[in-house]
């Protein structure tokens, strides 16, 4: 136990003292200095950097974020977006994994479904927004549906690819040792596909965040107004409203919030994936 703690400590210290780490830190600091100087240079020296001079400086954005996190309406927006992401994402997993497995296992089913699937797949989720607003009874459902589409195709494609890539000798070995078809499915195909499912889910959840924000912007934020004006409709609607209201620091603060939320979601799924696939761990 003590050794383990020591090892983790050693690993952490060697990481912090390592070249890699400091290169990263320096890069981030330089990036922020460049941004700060670029956006304030016009006020300081009269020289306006192209592009960057239009962007609010990072210190102002940080200040704005500090104000925002004290506002319940901002958290309500973040909550609404997160909820939609997870509704869509979980629905995509529930529908996508069995569908992908069925398509990988059955040649007939694949022959029937794949052409339809491949025609629908290239349609960008955002192109579905108007149609889904018409089809679904509530705004909330139509946003969740578009989010679902964002993750769905990636997950299905990954499941099919993963199941197909399983070494044929595993099936031969299992069959020789007396496995039934159900046994092979449960103990070979399912665990064999799991790493690809995790990859699909990690990529899928990122796309889901991209899609939910855009869907909220286009559809006007679903339940906008429930918490009063700008903050009611999720982070996408929040950004759009900040744009309409001319608050540029809020736009950037909203963008950064989405980045952080997306990062946390991907990291959580990757972590969960590591727990589900212990055999892929190093050592």
């Amino acid at each position: 136990m003590m050794n383990q703690v020591e090892a983790i400590f050693l690993k952490a210290t060697s990481f912090i003292t390592g070249e890699e780490f400091w290169r990263g830190v320096v890069a981030i600091i330089v990036f922020f200095i460049f941004w700060e100087v670029g956006s304030r240079s016009e006020a300081w020296s009269g020289f306006a950097f192209p592009w960057i001079s239009q962007v609010p400086p990072p210190t102002a954005v940080l200040l704005e974020m500090f104000k925002l996190i004290q506002e319940p309406s901002f958290w309500h927006s973040a909550y609404l977006s997160t909820l939609r992401v997870f509704e869509g994402f979980i629905a995509a997993m529930i529908v996508g994994i069995p569908l992908g497995l069925a398509m990988a296992v059955s040649r007939v089913f694949y022959g029937i479904t794949f052409p339809v699937f491949e025609v629908l797949r290239p349609i960008p989720p955002l192109a579905w927004v108007p149609a889904s607003i018409i089809f679904w009874p509530t705004q909330e459902l139509s946003i969740a549906f578009v989010t679902f589409l964002g993750a769905f195709f990636t997950i299905v494609i990954n499941v099919i690819g993963g199941a197909r890539a399983i070494d044929v000798r595993y099936f031969q070995a299992a069959r020789s040792m007396g496995s039934s078809t159900w046994d092979i499915f449960r103990r070979i195909i399912l665990p064999g596909t799991l790493p690809s499912i995790v990859v699909g889910a990690t990529v899928g959840v990122g796309i889901t965040w991209a899609v939910v924000v855009a869907a909220e912007m286009i559809s006007g934020g679903g339940s906008a107004g429930s918490m009063g004006g700008a903050a009611g409709g999720g982070l996408g609607f929040f950004i759009w409203n900040s744009y309409v209201g001319g608050s540029y620091t809020q736009i950037v603060a909203g963008m950064i919030s989405i980045g952080i939320a997306g990062y946390i979601s991907s990291a959580a799924i990757r972590k969960l994936g590591d727990l589900l696939t212990p055999w892929l761990a190093e050592g």
Binding site: Y170, A174, S176, M177, G178, S179
Partner: protein
């Protein structure tokens, strides 16, 4: 417990089955694209003997194994196990695959117990047997490790144990020690020879290594290049248990080796005449040895 388990190991239920391959042909592709891989091939894998098949790489050995295991069916001819024709894969003929086919998502123990569990035989006796096998292959301390956490030699031993727990009537080993470094390979051969001496179950062992073949075999089948047939059979009557060092010095073993090399050389020349690149490599490697010896 260890005592009970070891008596179980030491009491083989039978000495295995006999496989008779008769006039088997197998080709792939259709019409003008047909490639005949096995042609009119006949041989017998004798009961409780260790039959080694040796032949140039890419000569269709793996195809023959798939036919024996029942993963594929021959185009003509028959494969019979104790007079019963092979119709599909079965637990009576288990294959130890090249480079191992352990399930990466299962621990060593779960891999070994795969067969019994698949057949609903997860009994205390089976668990004891698995335990005894883990001891026997020296993996008791690695039971909870995944295959990727084992060394190459350990993986091969785990795969052997995974086959042996099912008490197959015939074990088919497809170049089981291929890709190991020379030292580990030597250890695995000695280790495997001991296992065989203990169980004496019918074994079909495929290799491209002539020293390995002589060290292990009761009979050596020398295969022709594609399309595969048995070109000759050499009986190896060296006493068991064999010692790898003694074998390299024994005149009898050297005579067998010369005979086998010459036969393989002839095969290589024939296929070289037909334009095989692999054969050219073989001729270059072995011409020197034949002239030197």
């Amino acid at each position: 417990m260890a005592h009970i388990a070891s008596t179980q190991i030491n009491a083989p239920t039978s000495f295995g089955s006999e496989i008779v391959v008769k006039n088997v042909s197998k080709s792939y592709g259709t019409d003008v694209f047909t490639k005949e891989v096995v042609q009119n091939c006949s041989f017998t894998i004798e009961r409780s003997k260790l039959t080694v098949m040796i032949g140039p790489s890419g000569c269709g050995k793996s195809t023959l194994i798939r036919l024996l295991a029942g993963f594929e069916r021959p185009n003509s001819g028959t494969v019979k196990v104790d007079d019963k024709p092979v119709t599909g894969p079965g637990v009576d003929r288990l294959v130890c695959f090249q480079e191992t086919a352990l399930f990466p998502w299962m621990t060593t123990y779960d891999n070994i117990m795969y067969g019994p569990r698949a057949r609903g035989e997860d009994t205390p006796e089976m668990r004891d047997f698995a335990e005894a096998l883990l001891q026997k292959v020296g993996l008791a301390a690695f039971r909870k490790k995944y295959p990727s956490q084992l060394s190459g030699g350990m993986q091969r031993r785990a795969e052997l144990a995974r086959c042996m727990i099912n008490k197959p009537a015939v074990m088919i080993l497809d170049e089981p020690f291929r890709g190991l470094d020379a030292m580990t390979k030597r250890l695995m051969q000695e280790y495997y020879a001991n296992l065989y001496n203990e169980f004496r179950r019918t074994t079909f062992f495929v290799t491209t290594d002539i020293d390995e073949a002589i060290y292990l075999a009761d009979r050596i089948l020398i295969m022709s290049n594609i399309p595969t047939r048995v070109s000759s059979v050499i009986d190896v009557d060296l006493p068991r248990p064999r010692n790898a060092e003694n074998i390299t010095e024994s005149d009898e073993a050297n005579a067998i080796k010369m005979q086998a090399l010459q036969l393989l050389h002839q095969e290589a020349m024939k296929s070289f005449a037909r334009g095989s690149k692999a054969a050219a490599d073989f001729i270059e490697a072995y011409s020197k040895r034949i002239s030197k010896d």
